[in-house]
């Protein structure tokens, strides 16, 4: 897998206040990368630096090997983006909007416009004025616009903001499709944990201008996974389990231990051999919400 976007030690200072404090991360081809953090963590500022809207105070951004600062045009060609809301010209039709942005790209064949319109499923309404579009349609037109120039990296800031549940699901599936089938790197920012959990491969957790953790979503979840045991007598069960693994505590009359998938059966056998009556074994995956609170030391989300 090749790296499409490399960010090194990115900083932004406004006045005396440093709002982005040295971010480093890479995006790989064909993955969905999540940017998770509460409002004001610096997600949008970072994204604006990635697409050249804001000049970083320090640090390097390179896109497909091109330095964003020194080779702006070559670098930005490989990026498609929607920053915040999909704002397009309301007095032009969807098609005219696409033509407008196509004219700003060198040598774009006309067929590409039809392609992206079909891709986002806007064929029926593309010749209506954008003023008459619903938010979901604008979002789709925004994505069509972002995909025009065959980008390698797609950057979406809060892509499901304001969409209804059906729209959110469609968007999620569409983003997965782009990453898996079209081999794009997709960077998605969100303050909704459930969303990141559902569509991202890797996640960077941001707080107060810093990345506090980057990891595979699965890995993160697994690390924090727990097993709940319901057994009687509970005291003896605890002693036996403590011989095998660390007992983390008791909750609602159940013993909590770490989760190790291939060890569960063996542990259970030990309990049964000791004559303990095991009535429930419950593995529990934590939500990212728990995770976030644990990692940030209780900083609230939203």
């Amino acid at each position: 897998m090749t790296d499409t976007l490399v960010v090194q030690n990115l900083r932004k200072r406004i006045g005396k206040k440093e709002i982005i404090k040295g971010l480093s991360f890479t995006l790989r081809e064909g993955e969905v990368f999540g940017f998770l953090g509460p409002n004001g963590a610096g997600k949008t500022t970072t994204i604006r630096m990635l697409v050249g809207l804001i000049k970083p105070t320090a640090g390097r951004i390179s896109i497909c090997g091109y330095d964003l600062h020194r080779q702006f045009s070559q670098a930005i060609r490989h990026i498609g983006c929607i920053v915040e809301n999909p704002e397009l010209y309301p007095y032009l039709s969807g098609w005219e909007n696409l033509e407008h942005f196509a004219r700003m790209l060198p040598d774009l064949p006309k067929e590409r416009l039809h392609e992206v319109v079909t891709l986002v499923g806007l064929q029926n309404r593309i010749h209506d004025r954008v003023r008459t579009y619903s938010l979901g349609m604008r979002q789709r037109l925004g994505i069509a616009q972002a995909l025009l120039g065959h980008p390698k990296v797609l950057i979406l800031d809060e892509p499901t903001n304001g969409l209804d549940p059906v729209g959110i699901r469609e968007m999620r599936e569409f983003i997965r499709f782009l990453a898996e089938k079209e081999k794009l790197s997709v960077l998605v920012s969100s303050h909704l944990l459930s969303e990141i959990q559902l569509m991202c491969d890797r996640v960077a957790i941001m707080s107060k201008g810093e990345i506090i953790r980057i990891d595979d979503v699965e890995q993160l979840l697994k690390e924090q996974a727990r097993v709940y045991w319901k057994a009687t007598p509970i005291e003896r069960a605890k002693v036996i389990l403590a011989e095998q693994t660390a007992v983390l505590g008791e909750k609602d009359g159940m013993i909590v231990t770490f989760y190790e998938a291939n060890q569960l059966a063996a542990w259970n056998e030990k309990l049964v051999q000791a004559g303990i009556h095991v009535s429930e074994i419950q593995p529990k995956l934590p939500t990212l919400e728990d995770l976030f609170i644990e990692l940030t030391g209780g900083e609230t989300i939203d």
């Binding site: 604006r48 697409v51 050249g52 809207l53 804001i54 000049k55 702006f72 045009s73 070559q74 930005i76 060609r77 990026i79 983006c81 920053v83 915040e84 809301n85 704002e87 397009l88 010209y89 309301p90 007095y91 032009l92 005219e96 407008h100 942005f101 004219r103 700003m104 790209l105 060198p106 616009q145 120039g149």
Partner: protein, 326 residues
């Protein structure tokens, strides 16, 4: 680059601004034509239809008498001779100097609209050229294309120049066509006097000469276009700096109106001549009206406007290229 300019023109046209401006001009020209028509009728009623010839004849005799009298300066003599030629031309070609044709109406319209009307129309088109992209959020899309920022701003500037030119053109064409329907379309070769210069309290007539009306008109339209361009550039700068179109309009409006007021009262505040808004009446130098502040000449005013325009252009590009977009 052509593609970029095409984009900008498309946006201006689709916002229907130019169409509205053409409509405003058409309505105003119609209004003024009617007013002028009433005025001419009134004059003719007072003098009788044929009286203007005898009157002109009388004026010519007067001028000749003055020429023959001794003790007038050489300069003054030259002026009177040119004056005589002009009057003779009117008589020979059967032109009533007080009954205008369409070109005369055009000339008057340009002279009276150069200070306020033309700048206002320009402002209406230019004020939201950049600020609307910022407030509408489309700026983010524009600046994330593989196009350098200065190219994007330059394309907008070129679109601004084209729109200003369109406004001037439609002003000329509409005023000609509409007023011509009432006053007739002739009068291109009417000779007019120009070259007056005011030095202190004295009118210097040394350089006075005759110019056919079409040339005269061309010069005035050119000057008006120049003024429109400078006002456009200033509005453009404000539009780059500010997100709010209303603020841009407010500031420009205040500046333009203050200019119109200042022109009438700044004769003793000499350094006010470096303000752009008291220098807008360029056509006054051609027709020979005294400037608001002593010592102002056509060259001076154009230089002042050019410096303001250039400074605005530099500021626009500097701000646009270095600014962080939030």
């Amino acid at each position: 680059m052509i593609n970029l300019v095409y984009n900008e023109m498309l946006k201006i046209v689709r916002k229907k601004r130019l169409f509205i401006i053409a409509a405003i001009i058409a309505v105003l020209v119609g209004l003024f034509t009617y007013a002028q028509f009433k005025h001419v009728q009134e004059v003719q009623k007072r003098l009788g239809t044929n009286d203007w010839r005898t009157q002109l004849q009388q004026q010519i005799i007067d001028t000749q008498n003055r020429l023959n009298s001794s003790g007038i300066s050489e300069e003054w003599r030259k002026f009177l001779q040119i004056r005589l030629q002009q009057q003779q031309y009117y008589l020979d070609h059967d032109i009533n100097p007080s009954a205008p044709g369409a070109p005369t109406f055009m000339r008057m319209f340009v002279e009276n609209s150069i200070e306020l009307f033309v700048p206002l129309m320009v402002m209406v088109v230019v004020a939201d050229l950049v600020s609307s992209e910022a407030s509408g959020g489309t700026m983010k899309l524009l600046l994330t294309r593989p196009v350098k920022r200065w190219k994007i701003l330059l394309s907008k500037y070129i679109a601004m120049v084209l729109s200003v030119s369109f406004i001037m053109l439609s002003l000329a064409v509409l005023s000609y066509l509409i007023s011509g329907a009432v006053f007739g379309y002739g009068g291109w070769n009417l000779p007019l006097l120009t070259g007056f210069a005011v030095h202190g309290e004295e009118l210097n007539t040394a350089n006075v000469h005759m110019l056919p009306q079409w040339k005269y008109l061309l010069i005035e339209l050119g000057l008006a276009w120049f003024v429109a361009l400078v006002v456009g550039t200033l509005t453009f700068m404000l539009s780059v700096i500010m997100r709010s179109t209303a603020a841009v309009m407010g500031i420009m409006l205040a500046a333009l109106i203050s200019g119109a007021i200042l022109s009438n009262m700044v004769s003793s505040w000499e350094s006010a001549k470096y303000l752009f808004m008291v220098n807008l009446r360029l056509t006054d130098y051609i027709s020979g009206t005294a400037p608001p502040i002593a010592g102002m000449t056509l060259g001076f005013s154009m230089a002042v406007l050019a410096v303001w325009g250039l400074a605005a252009l530099i500021v626009s590009f500097f701000v646009f290229m270095t600014r962080d977009v939030y």
